[in-house]
Point group: C2
């Protein structure tokens, strides 16, 4: 409480007077916000939820049997926690099964390599694909190679992902994963392998979604672990002609129904206005999806539960959305936006937790320019939880990233992502990678954010252009 | 040079006068030792050798085709380096092929687990073995369970390996790997799984040798990755009845011939007396054996080469031995001891480098009690390379560990093993885990050790009883 007032004072002294006049978190908001922080930092609920999800459900690839087990798990948990409303909404998701993936160097130095299929990849023929590799530093370098230049070859994009707190290294390399197959195939390649989009040095390949294009042949696409990508480089240093054999057996099986699972705390005075906090329920199939996105599920659910248990509910409704099939292309997020099209004007603000379990160090918004200072002032109590006030350029997180286009304000609660891409989309995404104390700090931040936004009287629209 | 004299002085002041009288590293030894250190710290030879071995040969399980590729690689390299003698000696090794290993939890929470077969394990039936698990904290706890108590069960030893610079955590847990199957089977178990003998939190299981006993049924034995062992614990916390299914297809195929590959720098005045520095050429099959024991191969070979290139050879012969089949039970080491039985009395001292690529922080000896102070004084120049003088309780390293029983003095050049058991016997044992500067420090230490011992006039026998 003392901290909160102190920060407010600093904000008022250093920020705009207008903001302070418009939006002092009044003493009740300060008091509740302080209480939420205190409660979050002493609650094990988020960790218990991640443990339960990762142990009792485990991997839960969208469209798989385990995906529906996860949906049932989520409904049961949300009901047990006593939210005002719990419901689910169907989402059509593709069904893809990983099968096996093997790679060997045939020449000059025969040995096995560790690979994994990229999500959505087609299979190789049973006998595999055997061809020389052509190495590119980046996707851009591959795109600069001439038509036909990869005929009979396997393309190899060898782009290293940099380690940053913000995770910005991922944005620079992930295009090779998502668009590499199309670019390689359009130049005649038989298959593509990429250095994993990851910052670790483990002998694990990072999977992740890739896309095909209707007018371009569909070629198998796989990721190599970082040490295996190094190994190919050291072979190429000795001999230009490195021949790989890849065998992969993923299969697509049409579509299945999954669900966005939703819980609500009904607003006390503006129940039709929504503050949305989300995470995604699906995971890749190789780890247990602890960081991606069990952590998010635990964080936003526990944050919602703290608000559900308040003696007096905030003005607006808080909606906790556990999205389906984020990994396969933000499918649950897009389905939500479509299903709630008519209600989007009533979405006050939205944020998704989907960047692991590192501490939140900053909150960014995307709101009206004239509202930005005011919303920062309103958020000032979050500072005592280690959350600095940031910029007005947030995307909000993957499953809400399409909402700003429709006028919905968003916030990004920035997590420390130093080690997130060590584990992301690998078998190593397991419970032991989560620091319970950091998870509690996240819960505190989401609870404060959701509560303060549900109480805010600031007009957040129209959005600032980025 | 200055450093060397300074250290000698300190040793003389603080150590026994006798030692100083007997064994001053004379000015020539000091000068050569200093030059060896300087040359080692500016040479990339050891790293180049490890890179060549891990890239051009890769995994080289004793008894496999790649094992013979490694033998040829070693002969070629040692010949190219111009050692006075290069030869190989046959070693009979068992042939074992890993096949596949899969485990799933059948109940209560179906999901896959990451396992690997322990080296030498038999296969499961094709349909696998499906049974409830019985968890033990340690091998000792399993041994305390009554006869028949594991009938129809899969034993699970869940002993965590502690992280220590010395690696001593390994010694406390490895018995579960080597002897667990016999102990479990003698109590009726159908199979055994153990928490990997490792200090990491990676989703990789650590393989390693295990033994059977003629009068006890041979049951399949596998290691679980650390996160998977955690997962079983979290399931057992919820439900006593955790049912596993294990499918493994390793196969034994009799015996093959491998080789100890040996190089010598012929001694100038006592050519029939031997200073042996060794490492093992074989590796497990899942990584590329960079740390275990490509590093050792690089270190002792590069150290030998520095001495080979000296303008004046030391008194004794230095023998670089690259042992066969260490991983399968010190087979090359035992074969060497047998083949050189008649020559062991002429082995002045022996040491093996087989603990990765961490810096050497201490040298321990096992020599005559009355020689110990003198040999420390003789070794004093190693201090300028960061090597402290240690105890008189060395084992010498796995492949020379049987020599003290036959009267041969040994030394252990202790490496920092903080992270060694993160990677040991996993797919993660790859070149990127080696710090080139630390490798150079090792080469300097081995070159100084070998040279000084080849020049020493101290009588090292009879050995101190441990």
């Amino acid at each position: 409480m003392k901290n909160g007032l102190h920060i407010l004072l600093i904000t008022c002294l250093s920020g705009s007077l207008l903001a302070c006049q418009q939006t002092p978190p009044n003493s009740k908001n300060l008091q509740v916000s302080s209480q939420l922080q205190q409660d979050a930092l002493s609650s094990t609920l988020a960790y218990d939820l991640v443990e339960s999800l990762t142990v009792e459900v485990g991997p839960r690839l969208a469209g798989s049997d385990k995906d529906l087990v996860a949906v049932q798990w989520a409904e049961d948990k949300l009901n047990q926690l006593g939210f005002d409303k719990v419901y689910k909404e169907p989402v059509k998701v593709p069904v893809w099964d990983r099968g096996n993936a093997e790679a060997i160097v045939v020449a000059p130095y025969p040995q096995g390599l560790v690979i994994t299929a990229l999500g959505g990849s087609v299979a190789t023929p049973t006998e595999g694909i055997t061809a020389p590799i052509v190495r590119f530093d980046t996707l851009a370098a591959l795109k600069a190679s001439p038509a036909g230049s990869l005929e009979g070859k396997i393309a190899f994009i060898d782009h290293k992902t940099e380690r940053h707190t913000t995770g910005k290294g991922y944005g620079k390399t992930v295009g090779g994963r998502s668009r590499g197959a199309v670019e390689a195939a359009s130049r005649g390649a038989l298959a593509i392998v990429i250095r994993s989009i990851g910052t670790d040095h483990d002998r694990m390949a990072h999977t992740g979604a890739m896309r095909y294009q209707d007018d371009v042949p569909r070629i198998p696409a796989a990721a190599l672990s970082s040490p295996d990508a190094n190994q190919l480089n050291l072979m190429l240093k000795r001999d230009d002609n490195v021949v790989l054999q890849i065998k992969m057996s993923p299969q697509s099986h049409g579509y299945a129904t999954s669900y966005n699972v939703i819980a609500e705390i009904t607003g006390s005075s503006k129940p039709d206005e929504i503050v949305l906090i989300g995470a995604h329920l699906d995971s890749w199939d190789e780890g247990t999806g602890a960081l991606d996105d069990g952590a998010g599920v635990g964080i936003v659910t526990a944050a919602g539960k703290l608000i559900q248990d308040l003696p007096q509910k905030p003005a607006r409704t808080i909606r906790v959305v556990l999205y389906a099939a984020e990994e396969l292309g933000l499918i649950g997020g897009k389905a939500y936006a479509k299903a709630h099209q008519d209600e989007l004007a009533k979405h006050y603000i939205a944020a998704e937790s989907d960047f692991g379990a590192g501490r939140i160090y900053q909150i960014d918004y995307r709101v009206a320019t004239q509202a930005f200072e005011a919303v920062l002032a309103m958020s000032a109590p979050m500072a005592s939880n280690g959350v600095a006030m940031g910029t007005n350029t947030a995307s909000g997180g993957p499953d809400v990233s399409m909402l700003p286009k429709q006028g919905v304000p968003v916030a990004s609660l920035r997590q420390d992502g130093q080690d997130y891409f060590d584990y992301h989309h690998t078998p190593n995404d397991t419970l032991d990678k989560i620091d319970p104390a950091a998870l509690q700090q996240n819960v505190a931040a989401y609870a404060q954010f959701a509560y303060l936004m549900a109480q805010s009287e600031i007009e957040l629209r129209p959005l600032a252009t980025k």
